[in-house]
């Protein structure tokens, strides 16, 4: 008998119109000292299964069938038993460390409260135990830090506190729901290492839920692959990743951007398991006819010279001295040549998005110059220049859910920039342009009459791309265009971007925190840290022969799916 045994679990959500099966015949087991990963794309039911174990399924969802046994005790739909073990025998780590701690209480109070709820300890002993726990999860100077509030900890440190909370009552099972998704690569590495250590030291069973195949490869012993509420495959991590059997699993593994080599296009599988080729290439011909052929002459398109950006809090009387102000960018310089794709990579707070906003003229730099085609974009004396280049620089945003106006039909979203730049254009021509654009991003023309909320994240990102292309830009800024998408959708969108670049001779400024994606997408790359350029080089050189120590560290820490294959 296994430590945790889940059998034939069915979970249903009854909604007004239909019943959604969030879990169907889910069965797996877990031993002590083992880390199991549940992986799947959004909507695959991986979180639902985790929540079912601790009976935290939101209404109207309910477990309709099956059994969950921990050490032989039946849990399923038995709130009394689950209540007694939740927190005590089962610890839970949530995705977002910013919101999973109560900001009004000191770390001490939160830890002691949890400990005293489940263990019979007096206040002093509980405090002593809390300090030990914080030391165990790698927080320095715990005697002092225990008296601090959550906002005084950084994101990674906060996640350590959450882990300390989860193990505070000596649980046997830890469920971690996307524990590192909100964290930077270097912190992710440390947190995963910590989880692995604790698993061995305390002989825990750990369930890690994630969408990141790299995390799965680096951390787990066994893996469960889910899709649309069903388990499509489970087994040893090494076997599943190197030799997947089911189509779903194969397509999942194929879509993961490899970290060790550059591939031309991602291979995609259709539901029957056959390889599909992208068809957007032929479609672009009509739009090229419309727009005229554009030649590439490899000349300098964008010149970013010594740009510094200081974010002022706009106080009327500034009390801060200038040295104390936060420099989002510190003398950043780089050049982008026509027709290339240029990558910007860095962790959060490195100033990547600030650069995007400066290039797109959403904000102005504090000092330094930005030249587009040898014309300064931020010349205070010449504001008209900015408008001249408006259509030539366009941007795709990170969040597909907020980047389209929810009150506009797709047709109008794409038509708006066309109307704006060509005032006298007839409605026939607008419709033709809109149809062309929706064709080349690979969506059906029926979708033009619908509203953004009717589409999935990947489809919305395609609409965003169509909108950005509507002005026929020369420089396309992609600010984390795929970080909110599932890997298979990411592969499709990245393929689309590559196709478009080839066909339309686009220059792309590609911003990402994800090193493998950068490797697949970019010709040259700049590594940023805290607003300072670490190095700029050919992407292959950055990955093969990194010079800067920070680049080396990043490459070293990034989760690699190849590590097990």
């Amino acid at each position: 008998m296994s430590f945790l045994d889940i059998k034939d679990l069915d979970i249903e959500y009854q909604t007004r119109k239909e019943t959604i099966e969030a879990g169907k015949n889910v069965s797996f087991s877990l031993e002590r000292g083992e880390i199991i990963g549940i992986v799947g794309e959004s909507g695959s039911g991986k979180s639902t299964v985790a929540n079912a174990i601790i009976n935290l399924i939101d209404k109207p969802g309910k477990i309709t069938n099956g059994s969950i046994k921990l050490d032989g005790i039946e849990f399923c739909n038995n709130e009394n038993i689950v209540q007694s073990v939740r927190g005590k025998k089962i610890g839970f780590i949530f995705q977002d460390p910013q919101t999973s701690l109560n900001p009004l209480f000191k770390i001490k109070d939160q830890l002691i409260e949890t400990i005293q709820t489940h263990l019979k300890l007096n206040h002093n002993d509980a405090e002593k135990k809390s300090i030990d726990l914080l030391r165990e999860v790698g927080i320095e100077n715990p005697e002092k830090r225990i008296n601090e509030y959550p906002h005084q900890f950084s994101g990674g440190m906060r996640q350590r506190v959450v882990i300390a909370l989860a193990i505070s009552c000596e649980p046997d099972l830890i469920i971690a729901d996307e524990p590192t998704t909100a964290l930077d690569v270097s912190i992710q590495f440390k947190i995963l290492k910590l989880l692995k250590q604790l698993t061995i030291k305390r002989n825990l069973g750990v369930i890690i839920i994630t969408h990141d195949m790299g995390v799965i490869a680096e951390t787990t012993d066994r893996v469960v692959v889910m899709r649309l509420g069903k388990i499509v495959e489970q087994g040893k991590t090494t076997e599943i990743l190197s030799n997947p059997q089911s189509i779903e699993c194969k397509s999942l593994v194929m879509s993961v951007p490899p970290t060790n080599k550059k591939i031309d296009r991602f291979k995609l599988l259709n539901p029957e398991g056959k390889q599909v080729t992208n068809s957007s290439i032929n479609l672009t011909n009509s739009i090229i006819k419309n727009w005229g052929v554009r030649e590439i002459n490899n000349k300098k398109l964008l010149d970013f010279i010594n740009v510094t950006k200081i974010f002022d809090d706009n106080a009327i009387i500034s009390t801060k001295k200038s040295e104390n102000k936060i420099k989002a960018l510190d003398r950043v310089s780089f050049q982008i040549f026509e027709g290339e794709s240029f990558g910007l990579v860095g962790e959060s707070g490195s100033g990547k998005s600030t650069i995007a906003k400066i290039v797109s003229s959403l904000i102005s730099p504090t000092s330094g110059e930005v030249y587009f085609e040898n014309v300064s974009l931020h010349d205070p004396k010449n504001k008209l220049i900015k408008n001249k280049f408006r259509g030539q620089i366009q941007m795709i945003f990170q969040d597909p859910y907020s980047s389209l106006n929810p009150r506009f039909k797709v047709k109008n979203i794409i038509a708006e920039p066309i109307k704006f730049f060509q005032k006298n254009i007839g409605s026939d021509l607008i419709n033709k342009n809109v149809n062309d654009l929706i064709d080349i991003v690979g969506m059906s023309r029926q979708s033009l009459e619908r509203y953004p909320h009717e589409f999935s994240g990947g489809q919305r990102q395609r609409i965003s791309i169509a909108r950005a292309l509507a002005t026929r830009p020369r420089l396309l800024i992609c600010d984390e265009p795929t970080s909110a998408l599932d890997v298979s959708i990411q592969a499709q969108v990245l393929n689309l971007l590559k196709d478009l670049q080839d066909q339309l001779n686009l220059t792309i400024l590609f911003i990402s925190h994800d090193l493998p994606v950068i490797r697949q997408m970019c010709d040259r790359t700049t590594v940023l840290k805290n607003g300072i350029v670490c190095e700029t080089a050919e992407t292959e050189n950055i990955f093969n022969k990194p010079k800067h120590p920070y680049t080396k560290e990043l490459l070293n820490l990034m989760p690699k799916i190849e590590s097990v294959v």
């Binding site: 939101d58 408006r390 259509g391 945003f397 907020s402 980047s403 708006e416 920039p417």
Partner: protein, 307 residues
């Protein structure tokens, strides 16, 4: 056509929550009955209280029909001039509703445009506008309305004043209600303006005016709708209060508040119905709007959806 629209509405999430809420349905029914009755007052009301020919002083102080000494022609009795209470109330609610709707629309236009522009443009303009609303909020709405009314009296001759009363009241109530709209829309605009679709519009190069009123405004209408509904009952009550205080509608053209004021004089001499029925009518009207507004606030708030 209309039936199809209603069906479509009932099929949406909001329509579903409407169907499930008995309070929402009943308050809508009550509100619609009052609105239609007042719109069709000439047909629905048994008498025209403004037609001197239909009024007879002989009928004055007739009690409602279930009280002794009543007249079958006057269901809810008559007032001191012999006007049928039911008819005066229907006509009075027409005035109250007109003032309520007009002043709320006035307040909405003023408040929303100031709120959206100040939230979007920011800077000194925002500071000035928001301090104005702060100052405005420190003045009780009745006081503000009295102030506007007082100023208007100074400018308009007494003979004209009775005819102008409706405009003065709309202006007075509108001015005291706009800060609510300005504050709510400013807050919503601040959230909306940092969303990426607004950044995309900026990068395309659309003008601020287009971004504010074509892109932001349709996306913040929900909270505006909620406060407009609750503001409507507020405006009706304010109007009644002003009329009750004698600065609202003249006795020749009575609103609900004016009717209550008249009745008040007779309350202790036994003719309770003259003040009682208009008062109840006002309560029912305001309550139905408020309950509708409450439901709307819950239904349009995605955070409360699961309840």
């Amino acid at each position: 056509m209309i039936a199809k629209m209603i069906n479509n509405f009932l099929d949406t999430d909001i329509g579903y929550s409407f169907k499930k809420s008995k309070i929402a349905i009943s308050s809508t029914v009550v509100f619609l009955i009052i609105v239609f009755a007042s719109l069709l007052a000439g047909i629905v009301a048994p008498y025209n209280p403004f037609d001197p020919a239909s009024i007879s002083l002989m009928d004055a102080f007739t009690p409602p029909i279930w009280v002794e000494g009543s007249n079958i022609n006057f269901i809810l009795g008559t007032d001191q001039q012999g006007r049928d209470m039911l008819s005066t109330m229907i006509y009075g609610s027409r005035i109250s509703l007109t003032v309520g709707f007009a002043s709320i629309i006035f307040a909405m236009i003023l408040g929303v445009s100031l709120g959206v522009t100040s939230g979007y443009l920011g800077g000194r303009y925002e500071i000035v506008v928001m301090r104005f609303t702060d100052v405005q909020l420190t003045i009780p709405s009745i006081l503000m309305a009295l102030l506007v009314d007082g100023i208007a009296r100074g400018f308009i001759s007494k003979s004209l004043h009775n005819d102008m009363a409706i405009y003065v009241l709309i202006l007075a109530i509108g001015i005291s209600e706009w800060p609510q709209f300005a504050r709510v829309t400013r807050a919503a605009t601040l959230v909306e303006k940092n969303k990426e679709y607004i950044l995309a519009s900026k990068i395309i190069g659309l003008s601020n005016l287009v971004i504010m009123f074509k892109h932001i405004l349709p996306n913040i209408l929900r909270p505006v709708l909620v406060i407009a509904t609750i503001g409507l009952s507020q405006a009706i009550i304010t109007e009644s209060t002003l009329s009750f205080l004698g600065v609202g509608f003249p006795p020749t053209n009575p609103s609900l508040g004016t009717l209550i004021r008249f009745g008040n004089n007779f309350l202790f001499s036994g003719e309770w119905w003259i003040t009682f029925f208009p008062a109840i009518f006002l309560v029912v009207l305001a309550l139905s709007i408020n309950l509708l507004g409450d439901w709307m606030r819950d239904a349009l708030n995605p955070k409360l959806k699961s309840r």
